[in-house]
Structures are given as structure tokens and as C-alpha cells.
């Protein structure tokens, strides 16, 4: 592992000691699929209120890691604390405290924007007296008020992504997971989503863990970036630290290739590609 990774990776022995400061802390987190080790003895932590970027080639283990941290997938070994709660022993407590925007489009196209938010509000137990105001705030925050009564299948790609982020933040989660939030979006829509992610961070002091293949996105948004390769963290640090460690002219793309040994456009199995294409098609 690279020096930066060794310096930044923390493995506190006492869980209560990090319950406060760490938004996410993994301990030897491992996930196997038969003989394939998708995530391999991963140990790292990051603090609250930051935007943490997870980068790596397709098949590096990013989505598997996010699935474990969001309790969608049980680990084979090890565990993690998310917002101070154990993903294995306290999955429902974790789920109460997280928001999640999947790589696929999770907003329901056959419901209106308002209805999507209303169902989320009910699932997350937002009191009836606060529901309408909270939904109106979220729609306003994401510039979707005028489209709230339209079926989501008639939204543009950028609007759908903004709605999904609004949905995921409606219950004020401690940690927000964004799995490739701008995949398939045009540059204008990307900029709009970036603006809203920054605002979320500023307005709500939200902790965000995001995966992306977009080096510019990672550079613009993330305070800390971890490069995953073959189920492990190959390097971790701020974008500036990572680039500087490689040389004065280095870009994040160079860092990516250096630590993962992969070209940015390589990798990914049929399922990854199909999922990305499906998302892109829905985004129009």
C-alpha cells in the first residue's frame, strides 16, 4: 500500500472512542463471493462533515463496500460502524441514520416527485405535522417545486438525480451515500448536481461518501479520496496530497492509473456495464 494510505488509515481499538468523530469506520471488512474476494480486510475511517470519494476501476469493490455500509449486503468477515452503529449488530439503527442514492435510478418514474418524497417521509417516520413542510423545503432546495406534480418519468436526468438526493436527505441522515451520482448526466446537469451536493454539505454539515469514475468530480467535491483496487484501499488522502505525491504535474487520472494499474475506461463485467447503460438510458 502507498505511504499516504498507511498514514491516513486509522484503526482505533475502542469503538466508543470513534463513535463521535467518525462517520464511517471499517474494521477488517471483508466480502467474498465464493472464491472472489470483492472487499479484502478493509480498515479505514473518516470523520463527520466531510465529502469522502471512493474511486477505482469497475470491479474494485466500491459498490460492494457501499452495499455493506448501507446494510444491503452482510459482510463475510469484519464489521463497520456507520454513524457510530454496527452494520452487523445494529443494521436498523444504521438504516435510520443514512441516506442512499444508488447508481441506478431509485426514484419511481410512475409516481410524481411529490409522491416519491411522501413515501420516503412515511418510511422514515417524519411526523405527519412536519411532512408537508419538509417535502416543500426539499423540493425548493433542489429547485423542483414547479415539477413536483409531474410523473418522474417525464423529468430530465438531472432533475431525477436531484429528486433522489432530496429523497435521501429528507430525514436528515448523518451519513449520505452517493453511488456514482452523476453517471449518465450531461455536463450542465452534472454541474447542477455538484452545486446541490456542495450546498447539502454547507447547509446541513452532511457527511457524504460518494463513488465516482469522474476524476474532475472527485477533485471538485471531495476533501478525501480513497483509491480502491482489488478489494483494498491502494491510496488515501486529499486530492492535493495524492497528486503532489506523484509529481508536480500529476492529475487525479495519473494517480488512478498509478495506484490501480488500470486505464480509466477499462474494467467492469457485463453486469456493471448493463447497469450503467440502463441508468444512462433512463436519464435520457
Amino acid at each position: 500500500m502507498a505511504p499516504i494510505a498507511q498514514r491516513q488509515t486509522a484503526t482505533p481499538a475502542d469503538a466508543s472512542a470513534v463513535r463521535g468523530p467518525s462517520a464511517v469506520e471499517t474494521r477488517s471488512l471483508t466480502r467474498r463471493f465464493e472464491s472472489l474476494v470483492a472487499v479484502n480486510q478493509l480498515t479505514f475511517a473518516f470523520g463527520r462533515g466531510s465529502i469522502f470519494g471512493l474511486l477505482g476501476p469497475n470491479g474494485a469493490g466500491k459498490s460492494t463496500l457501499i452495499k455493506m455500509l448501507t446494510t444491503l449486503l452482510p459482510p463475510s468477515e469484519g464489521t463497520a460502524l456507520v454513524a457510530g452503529f454496527d452494520i452487523v449488530r445494529e443494521p436498523r439503527e444504521v438504516r435510520r441514520r443514512i441516506g442512499y442514492v444508488s447508481q441506478m435510478l431509485s426514484a419511481d418514474g410512475d409516481l410524481t416527485g411529490y409522491e416519491n418524497l411522501l413515501i420516503s417521509a412515511k418510511l422514515y417516520g417524519i411526523p405527519r405535522s412536519q411532512r408537508s413542510a419538509r417535502i416543500a423545503e426539499a423540493l425548493d432546495f433542489m429547485d423542483l417545486t414547479n415539477a413536483s406534480g409531474k410523473l418522474v418519468k417525464h423529468y430530465s436526468g438531472g432533475m431525477i438525480r436531484r429528486l433522489e438526493i432530496a429523497q435521501s436527505m429528507l430525514h436528515r441522515p448523518s451519513v449520505l451515500f452517493l453511488d456514482e451520482p452523476t453517471v449518465g448526466l450531461d455536463p450542465f446537469a452534472k454541474q447542477a448536481v455538484w452545486k446541490h451536493i456542495r450546498e447539502l454539505r454547507r447547509e446541513f454539515n452532511a457527511t457524504i461518501l460518494m463513488t465516482t469514475h469522474d476524476m474532475q468530480e472527485a477533485d471538485e467535491l471531495c476533501e478525501t479520496i480513497a483509491f480502491m483496487h482489488q478489494g483494498k484501499i491502494a491510496a488515501i488522502g486529499s486530492p492535493t496530497e495524492l497528486k503532489t505525491a506523484l509529481g508536480p504535474e500529476a492529475t487525479l487520472g495519473d494517480v488512478f492509473i498509478h495506484y490501480t494499474g488500470a486505464d480509466i475506461s477499462e474494467g467492469g463485467d457485463l453486469r456493471d456495464v448493463a447497469r450503467t447503460r440502463r441508468t444512462s438510458q433512463r436519464l435520457g
Binding site: K67, T70, T71, L72, L73, A83, R92, R95, R96, R97, I98, Y100, S102, Q103, M104, L105, S106, A107, D108, G109, D110, L111, E115, I119, S120, K122, L123, Y124, G125, I126, P127, Q130, E137, D140, F141, L151, Q167, H171, R172, P173, S174, E203, F204, N205, R278, T279, R282
Partner: protein, 273 residues
């Protein structure tokens, strides 16, 4: 915009787990019912099958008088069977919506919410019953047009509604289990076709149990559709009788539903893996 940091709204639910459970279950059902309201075409297409069975099959077989029906006309005898069949055919393919929503990422959103897995399953079962109740109204209207001798009164209405709800919940949950196991739309359609007709023919929907050979009779006794039809025939039709008694009919359906929900709850998260 008001800011409430690190105090998720749902955390307060832990004080009232029963209320939270009910609200989450109904929210799952509500999402599906709202979609049905936005696009009710599915309800229209579902009308075709019961219309064909009652108008063609029922009319023709009433003339043959070949099937012993216990003193009622064949059309009267088969009307509860057609209602149960339309509930079955609608519910048994319900699981494909789970696979579709899994492919779109919608299922992931529900699974990362604090809702209990069983409430996600139960919510879907409830939304399936909404579709089936619409079919119940259609079959009643058709039956009135065909002068089927329908029972009137609150007991009949409540009883028939309950039987439709139980039947729909059992078969839609069974369908969810199949979806969680096969995981792909193509395989699910094949499984659905394989399951539907055996369930239908191994029941008393269009002929009485007394006509069945021994092996089929034994199969029909473990088929929830048999008990649903038995209850419907007694509650819906003037002169209709029950073979097992309403208590046993509803007890069997309730037990089948409990088993299905328990299995579906365990399998549901595996749909995404």
C-alpha cells in the same frame, strides 16, 4: 430551511414500533396503489379473462349439466371459482414487479430504509389485494348481468372481501418468493406459467372435489385456492355450500399467509444479490 443535525426523524419511531411498522407497511402499499391510480390500464386488461370464463365457458357448461354442482346452476357454481381464478392469475405474476423494481434500483431504496423486511413484504401483499378487490367488483357486476344468484347482506360482503384479500395476499407473497429465488424476468415468467394452471386445476374452482381422482384430491387439499373457493362459494352464492367449513377455510389461508410471509421476509433482501 430549518436544520436538524444528526437527529433523523425515524429515530423517534423506536418508541412506538407497532405504529411505525403499520405506517411503513402502508407506505409500501400506498406507493404501488398510487401507481395503479396513475395508470389503471392493468385493471382493464385483467378484466378480459373473467369475462371470457363467465360469458363463454360458464354459459356453455351450464347447458351441458355434466358436472354435479349440488343443486345450483353451473354458472352459479363456477362464479366464485372465476373470482378466485382472476385473483390467482393476477397475484401469481405480481412478483415480476419486484424484479423490475430491483433492476431499476427502487428495491434498494426500500431496503436501506428503516422499514422491517416483513413490512416491505406485507405492504406489497396489501397492494396486491387492492388490485384483486377491483376484480371482485368486476366479477360481481358480470354476475349480476348474468343473473347469478348472489347472496346479499353484510356477512356475504365482508366474508367475500376477506376471502379475496387472503387469497390475493397468499398468492402474491408466493409470487414474491418465486421472484426472490429466480431473480430474472424471463425465468419468472416461465415459473409463473408453470405454477398457474396446476394451482387452478388442482382446486375446486370449476369442478367439485368429488369428481377428482384420489391423487388430485390429495393435492387440492394442500392448495390454498381450494379453501378460498370453498369459502367464496358458501359466502357468495345463494344455496352454495362449504366442504370444510368457513373456520377451516380461513384458518388454512391465514396459516398459508403466515408461512409465505415468513419465507418471503427471509428471501426478500436476497433479490439484490
Amino acid at each position: 430551511m430549518s436544520h436538524v443535525h444528526d437527529v433523523p426523524a425515524s429515530v423517534s419511531d423506536s418508541a412506538f414500533p407497532g405504529v411505525a411498522y403499520a405506517r411503513q407497511t402502508l407506505a409500501v402499499a400506498e406507493a404501488d396503489i398510487r401507481k395503479l391510480i396513475h395508470d389503471p390500464v392493468e385493471l382493464l386488461t385483467r378484466m378480459v379473462q373473467p369475462v371470457l370464463w363467465l360469458l363463454i365457458f360458464g354459459q356453455v357448461f351450464t347447458r351441458t349439466r355434466a358436472i354435479p354442482t349440488g343443486g345450483i346452476s353451473y354458472l352459479d357454481f363456477m362464479t366464485p371459482g372465476v373470482l378466485a381464478q382472476s385473483v390467482l392469475f393476477g397475484a401469481i405474476f405480481y412478483g415480476i414487479s419486484l424484479i423490475w423494481e430491483r433492476d431499476l434500483g427502487i428495491v434498494h431504496k426500500f431496503l436501506v430504509s428503516p422499514a422491517a423486511r416483513s413490512s416491505l413484504v406485507l405492504g406489497r401483499a396489501i397492494s396486491s389485494t387492492a388490485r384483486s378487490l377491483c376484480q371482485m367488483v368486476l366479477v360481481y357486476l358480470l354476475a349480476l348481468l348474468l343473473h347469478v344468484h348472489l347472496q346479499e347482506g353484510l356477512r356475504a360482503f365482508v366474508g367475500v372481501t376477506a376471502a379475496v384479500i387472503f387469497g390475493s395476499a397468499v398468492f402474491s407473497t408466493f409470487s414474491l418468493i418465486a421472484a426472490c429465488i429466480v431473480k430474472s424476468r424471463e425465468r419468472f415468467m416461465g415459473i409463473g406459467q408453470v405454477l398457474t394452471m396446476p394451482l387452478f386445476f388442482a382446486s375446486n374452482a370449476i369442478y367439485p372435489l368429488s369428481l377428482m381422482p384420489g391423487w388430485l384430491h390429495n393435492l387440492s387439499r394442500i392448495n390454498p385456492l381450494t379453501y378460498q373457493v370453498d369459502a367464496l362459494r358458501s359466502l357468495m352464492i345463494v344455496g352454495g355450500s362449504t366442504t370444510f367449513g368457513l373456520a377451516q377455510d380461513f384458518a388454512f389461508m391465514a396459516a398459508a399467509l403466515a408461512v409465505m410471509i415468513a419465507i418471503a421476509t427471509r428471501l426478500y433482501p436476497k433479490i439484490i444479490t
